[in-house]
């Protein structure tokens, strides 16, 4: 009984400027960090990183997994709390697949006929990535 018990769960909060998306106890979360996807369990070392666009997966205490599409933000990890500040976050079941498909097709078309401007190219590429991630996440609806 000498060592302090390592917390098994932590409070996961995902907030965007528009709303609080998630505020739940979770056992594990996997998020798209600046240097690649990272996983966090309860009792993690204090850690902070920027986020890229990608899929955020978390496992609730009861066991089932949830998926979200998040874009650009920050994650602050503390032993008993994980805070994700994202510019946008959508739960898998909230994603409008038809719209994401339209966005994908649009950006593919734009990439096809782009000239020499790198700025537009990067933006179109980003839009495409975003649409693809959203589609990927949308399939994982509960």
């Amino acid at each position: 009984m000498a060592t302090a018990e390592i917390p098994r769960t932590f409070l996961l909060e995902v907030v965007t400027p528009q709303r609080l998306v998630v505020s739940e106890e979770a056992e594990e979360v996997i998020a798209p960090g600046a240097e690649g996807y990272f996983g966090v369990l309860g009792g993690h070392l204090p850690f902070m990183t920027t986020l890229k666009f990608g899929e955020l997966t978390y496992r609730r205490t009861r066991g089932e997994e949830r998926h979200l599409a998040v874009s650009w933000g920050y994650a602050e990890v503390l032993p008993t709390r994980v805070t994700i500040l994202a510019e946008a976050a959508e739960r898998a079941e909230e994603i409008d697949s038809a719209r994401a498909e339209a966005a994908r097709d649009r950006s593919v078309a734009r990439l096809g006929k782009l000239g020499d401007s790198t700025v537009d190219f990067v933006r179109a590429q980003e839009a495409l990535m975003r649409a693809l991630t959203r589609l990927e996440v949308a399939v994982k609806k509960r």
Binding site: Q18, L20, G33, E35, M48, T49, Y74, T83
Partner: protein, 290 residues
Amino acid sequence: MATLQDIRRRIRSVQGTQKITRAMKLVAAAKLRRAQERILAARPYSNKMDAVLASLALRADRSAHPLLVHRAGNRKVLVVIAADRGLCGAFNSNILRRSLEWLRQQGEAEVALTLVVVGRKTSDFYRRRPVTVRAAYVNFFDRLAYEHGAEIGQELVRAYAEDSADEVHLCYNEFKSAATQRVTVVKLLPIEPLPEPEGEVPVDFLYEPSAAVILNRLLPKHIEVQIYRALLESLAAEYGARMTAMDNATKNAGEMIEVLTIAFNKARQERITKELLEVVAGAEALRASG
């Protein structure tokens, strides 16, 4: 004395006005509810952001970032947020009066003042005044989104980083409750020392890629969020003010209708009495002669 016809016409006109003010009140109430929900939803992000920033600033070199550095110059920018529309009581005039006052206070020394006006009422107000307006954002409150806050914020950060402004202040109506707004002036840039985070502060923090990079991205974001929040506050405050103003107008119209109705009844009674007197007098005269 007003004839019955006149009074009846006036009552009808006031009733028409009352119908309009009542409808406007209901619309404002519905919009207020939505705006209130939005500001409540936006607060967690803004609060979390403050907390993250505070804990970050403890560990990063503060002088490293341009947005944290105080400059000696005195080119000041004031961002004034009012509404796009009127008919909301003293909402617009309070904020505009306060901003004028602020400008006058700065005017003593050698200060170069410029304005960023937000809302059509602000723009109209300053159009004919001898102040330099560096940017105007109008007619967007009915479709306010985070992008508006981001756009204004980025523009201010750019101006500050490019060294064309030394201080940026923000003047807006803070939403207190449906009935009260508070005119607020806050300093936006340079970012003042942040409050120490409450509770335990972990020492061994890992940063990816590094504390400086994160701070660099977080600070401009912080400005955007603050502007966005101020816009939401102002919007909710505007609907609150309009609802109250229209409620008062509806009540006043009701009182007026009451007064007019009494006048109408009195006038009608007088006329009946007069007619009766005439009839009686006529009958008397007939009997006397007959």
